[in-house]
Amino acid sequence: MPPYVLPDKCDGCKNEADPWCVAVCPGNLFVIDPVTSKALCRDPGECWDCMTCTIFCPRQAIVTQVQYQLAPIPAELIPRLGKRHITWTLIDCKGRIYRLENTILAGGEED
């Protein structure tokens, strides 16, 4: 389910010491293109589909797709990271929209 980056949304994490996607990938797969200053997954085949990059991107610039050899398009899963929850918007191939949520940290209910 490799991640692909939308050029209009990615700002190269200008204000971060380390771009988020580059800092979190367990496979060291994200790099910034020196020419465009935008991020890309340098080898989609190496990706484990953990979606950590997608979750952390502050611009929601990373789109996660199921490999076409495994599933047809379109369907989307869009995470939004809060302090204690991740809220996911799931859009299935029929266009139905679901809002899902998982708790990530115990403690107060506030995000």
Partner: protein, 590 residues
């Protein structure tokens, strides 16, 4: 010579996972504020390794009964295999306490109506575990350990028969790291990617276990002569087809029965499977049964979620978001609703693990977690013959290792000798050799090196050999000596005269090069250990067609090997199995 980083530490932890981070925490607790602790990881410990996508259950927890009952269960679940009951008991005694500790650190654990941990089966509890890894990493951070992210450890250093540190390269900065340590903990995970992946191209890493765990734990310990054990087992996980997400959430999580294409709940309806334990038969037996059904023309196999507990089935997507978002997106892309249709399962390719349902790892002395190399400890997946510890057991094991390392430092593990500069230089050359070779290459018009082999090419060759000759999917995971002999010849060939052609164009490819070097060492361990055990003890995981029966007289024991570099051979020895928890090993006690 590359730019060097020299580090001098008391405790070096290779791998910042469940075992590594908790070892750091415990070592600080018992070792005091002066102790120097260093954690090295090839990625960022907050998100690296097999917990990168989270997990929705802790599969080792004592919900009822005693630690002894849990050990009896672990033994049973691997067909009454010889397991290190001393090690497992040491884990069992502290499991629940460790889980409570991690709950305090922020892990959301689900509760039942009475406020108790929500159980899923006898030995499991449900968690919201998407953030398991950052929560785990925080333990090492809180311990004040020096954390070296993005450093790939290539070799352990052995001097005067003792482990005195490790070397590696910065995957971002390209520097050569030389770390001198008084005690070293190997906790760098198990091995994925030994056998051919189910899919190719952009899906070749679509697998259950994290593909960045390359067997470095096993390979590095083997290379410095530690006694290695348990490679005659391997884990073949039954998983959701295509996404290879855990299926336990469907089985014990929502009570969906496993059915064949005829809708038969074969584990409960057929005498031959009932005899072996029915739907709670040992894990390898369930794999074997599925493939037996498929071979008989009754596949595919499904988890019939339409017959599960409807309320729980409705919450499945949330449960999978905690560990496999892929599955949720895959269902959406295929318009699959588990409430309306059964979910197909199949086996993923085999993996080498020590803390899941297999026994791979280093042999360790008593419950100290010290390997046969003084100063080198092993925990997590790197610890042999103590299966089914899972996440909570690895946390616990890390703590125990941390404690014993501190003890060692206070006793025999006093000052280490100065590192031998000649040896360090040799290790540096070895570490960067694939890069050096690249710089000396000539290239074809399309950029392919003339006499160089790319890591991906060598990996594919290796995986093809393992798949075709060491019990891959195409043989329904069965194996026999004539096949093993070909596997041995071809893997030996790769290891002995092909590695000199391995090239890497940049640091990213150097990681891949070392991945394949480590995996090839794992292949040797697997082939030789499976070949040595001339019986079928782990039906389903290692089914030998040439020795289909168990042979207790010869093999009801632990099998260990030591690598001899001069001859590139493994020399085997046996240790007797010691039963501590009494009773029939093929039965659970509760």
């Amino acid at each position: 010579m590359r730019e060097r980083v020299h580090i001098d530490t008391d405790i070096l932890i290779v791998g910042g996972g469940t075992a590594g981070c908790l070892a750091a925490w415990e070592a600080r607790k018992v070792g005091g504020p002066k102790l120097r602790i260093t954690v090295v990881d090839r990625a960022n410990i907050r998100h690296s390794g097999s917990l990168a996508a989270g997990q929705n259950a802790l599969n080792a927890y004592i919900n009822q009964g005693t630690p002894e009952d849990w050990v009896a269960y672990v033994r049973y679940d691997l067909l009454g295999a010889p397991v290190r009951e001393d090690i497992l008991l040491s884990v069992g005694y502290e499991l629940n306490e460790t889980v409570a500790l991690m709950e305090k650190e922020g892990l959301p654990i689900k509760k039942d109506a009475q406020g108790r941990y929500l159980r899923r089966g006898k030995w499991n509890i449900e968690v919201n575990g998407r953030w398991l890894k950052p929560i785990t990493a925080k333990m090492a951070e809180k311990a004040g350990a020096q954390i070296l992210n993005w450093v790939y450890v290539t070799e352990l250093i052995k001097q005067d028969g003792r482990c005195v540190g490790a070397v590696g390269f910065g995957v971002r900065d390209g520097r050569f790291y030389v770390i001198k340590a008084r005690a070293v903990l190997m906790a760098a995970g198990g091995a994925a990617g030994i056998w051919r992946s189910r899919y190719e191209g952009d899906a070749h890493h679509r697998m259950w276990y994290v593909p960045f765990n390359n067997g470095a734990s096993y390979a590095m310990m083997k290379r410095i002569g530690a006694e290695m054990t348990g490679f005659d087992t391997r884990m073949i996980p039954l998983r959701i087809k295509d996404t290879y997400a855990p299926a336990g959430t469907l089985a014990i999580g929502v009570n969906a029965p496993m059915v064949n294409a005829l809708g038969e709940v074969f584990m409960l309806e057929k005498e031959e499977y009932v005899r072996m334990g029915g739907h709670t038969a040992p894990t390898p037996v369930r794999v074997w049964a599925c493939y037996r059904e498929i071979a008989a023309g009754r596949g595919p196999i499904f988890m019939d979620t339409t017959r599960g507990d409807p309320e729980k089935v409705a919450g499945l997507r949330e449960q999978y978001l905690d560990m496999s978002p892929t599955t949720v997106l895959y269902w959406a892309a295929h318009d699959i609703d588990p409430a309306r249709e059964p979910i197909e399962i199949e086996a993923d390719s085999p993996f080498l693990v020590g803390a899941h349902a297999a026994c791979c790892g280093a042999w360790t002395i008593g419950i100290t977690r010290m390997t046969t190399i003084p100063g080198l400890f092993a925990s997590g997946e790197a610890l042999g013959q103590a299966p089914s510890r899972y996440i909570s057991g690895c946390w616990t094991c890390g703590r125990i290792a941390g404690r014993h390392m501190v003890q060692w430092l206070e006793g025999e593990g006093t000052e280490v000798p100065e590192l031998d500069p000649g040896l360090v230089a040799q290790l540096e050359t070895r570490t960067f050799a694939p890069l050096e070779r690249w710089s000396k290459q000539e290239f074809f018009t399309n950029g392919k090196p003339v006499r160089g082999v790319l890591p991906r090419e060598m990996e594919a060759h290796m995986q093809n050999v393992m798949e075709d000759y060491c019990g891959g999917r195409i043989h329904y995971f069965t194996v026999s000596e004539p096949y093993l002999e070909i596997a041995r010849r071809r893997i030996d060939r790769l290891r002995r005269d092909q590695l000199r052609y391995l090239v890497a164009r940049d640091l990213f490819e150097l990681e891949r090069a070392w991945d394949v070097i480590n995996r090839l060492d794992c292949c040797q361990l697997v082939i030789e250990h499976i070949s040595y055990r001339k019986e079928t003890r782990y039906l389903g995981f290692v089914t030998r067609t040439d020795y289909p029966e168990r042979n207790d007289a010869e093999y009801d024991c632990f099998i260990c090997s030591v690598w001899h570099p001069e001859t590139d051979t493994l020399v085997f020895k046996k240790y007797p199995y010691e039963q501590i928890v009494p009773g029939d090993r093929t039965k659970e006690t509760i």
